[in-house]
């Protein structure tokens, strides 16, 4: 499909969003309520992942390297 401008493409994407979620059939104020709830939920997910995911990943890596790294240290100690 050929889009004459980026705006047209964005409006087509918005149309697809309306159709897929089914809110195409709702009244405009209901559409606003749904979209605001959805985007605030997505915003909260993004914020939480931005704040917490690096910390969790670092801790997980430390935990797993602790298991394997700790094992090789103890065997070295026994040999020595």
């Amino acid at each position: 499909m050929n889009f004459k401008s980026f705006r047209e493409y964005l409006s087509w994407l918005y149309y697809q969003y309306l159709l897929i979620t089914g809110i195409y059939v709702l009244e405009p104020w209901e559409k606003s309520i749904f979209s605001s709830i959805l985007f605030s939920a997505i915003g909260m997910v993004i914020y939480t992942s931005y704040v917490f995911v690096p910390i969790h990943v670092r801790l997980a890596l430390e935990f797993f390297s602790g298991i394997f790294g700790g094992q090789s240290e103890s065997t070295m100690a026994l040999i020595n």
Binding site: M1, Q16, L19, I20, T21, G22, V25, L26
Partner: protein, 547 residues
Amino acid sequence: MAITAANSTLPHLSPNGLQCEDIKSNGCHNRREKNVPGTGIASRQHKQESFEQAPMYVAVMTYLGFGIVTLFGYFRDFLRAVGLEKCNLAQERVEQKDFVPLYQDFENFYNRNLYMRVRDNWNRPVCSLPGPVFDLMERVSDDYNWTFRLTGRTLHNAINMGSYNYLGFAENNADFLKTVADKTQQYGVGVCSTRQEMGTLSIHEELEQLVASFLRVESSMTFGMGFATNSMNIPAIVGKGGLILSDELNHTSLILGARLSGATIRVFKHNNMHSLEKMLREAVCSGQPRTHRPWKKILIMVEGIYSMEGSVVRLSEIIALKKKYKAYLYLDEAHSIGAVGPSGRGVAELFNVNPADVDVMMGTFTKSFGAAGGYIAGKKELVDYLRSHSHSAVYASAMSPPVTEQILRAMKCIMGKDGSTEGIRRIRQLAENTRYFRARLKEMGFIIYGNDDSPVVPILLYMPGKVVAFAREMLERKIGVVVVGFPATPITEARARFCLSASHTRAMLNQVLRHMNEVGDNLCLKFSRLKYSSCPNLCDETDFELI
């Protein structure tokens, strides 16, 4: 043989779905092997019917859409109950609050919160005859479809893809309708009586003899209403102590007739011969539920073409089963009479079976004949019995004379008795339109259900938002379509149903297909994952090279 093949415009009727190269070389061969009707040998193999399943994400999105709209439905019901919003629908009165609630079941919830929001797509007022093009009255709503008002403008010449006008007999050409006008002068319009009292006119006798000769059976009887033909005659044929084996997707009229009869009803899977055979064996072995006496009668109820799926019954296999287990067959040809078969005589001709093998042939005149009413045809004893024992014959008003004459003229046209080849031309045009339309839609990538021969084409749309958007976009492009959702179809399989007509020209079909292509791209409706390669020359071939 060579001359006939060259002079006639051979329809692309290939009994076994051959590729076009084979048609070119076998064209003469197939014409030579003209099958004699009544041999009872099914010479045409049942074409594969496709019921393609959509990808998983489509089902997920459909449920998601329904879920979100249902949540909003609960929210709006809450607002209405609290009083923040005015309720436009019927409500119970304060004095009734101690009684059983009237409007709390799922059907009413669905009606209030889903159907009302989008009901501008149904019940559109039509102000012309339902031919290949028609006029619609423009209707707008100011309060989100609770009330409508007509603006006074008319949408002229919208292409009609929803009427059951298979052979194009819904026409107002004065020459064709001359006999109808004459008979109206002669007999009047109302009959003012039932068939048993004073309502059997000579024109009814003429029609019944013509129907019997058209279907190649002994005798027939006609009724004023197609739905009532089923629902009022099945109770006369089967009673308590009988067993009805009914297809899963049978029409409401058949189900109502079966329930009214008082017989035991068992449902077998749609068009599934293993399921039917299993039920027949079990019925013959075990008999009636508690007493184990044999069933008085076992009646298999099927339809010729199922209108929501577009699938065709497996008639030859059912007849083999019925002969083996000594059951009876009731065939409802509402959509298939006049629309399928090389000369329009329905599925019995399509499968080349002896019409005497089908015990009760039923059909309606509403679809291919452009009139109203129904018929039941079969052996003389059956029809004589129905004349005295059917509720419709005893109590219902007889068929009106102009309608009867319309059926007579349409049937004579199909049989060729009016001296022209108009009937055969229309049947071939319908077959060609069906094949072309289905092939092009499959090529574009839509999911189509049903048999390649059926003029009913359901296109699956699945999601509730897309169903509504499709209907509205097609109306903007001046094409009238019928979309169907829950509860007429399963909740995840909403569809648009196209009914092709012999009066659609190739140009109209091309216009519809072009718009469908655009709308399909805009709305992302092309879910099919099968690669469909049609012969590049299939659509425009008009003559064959002869070997």
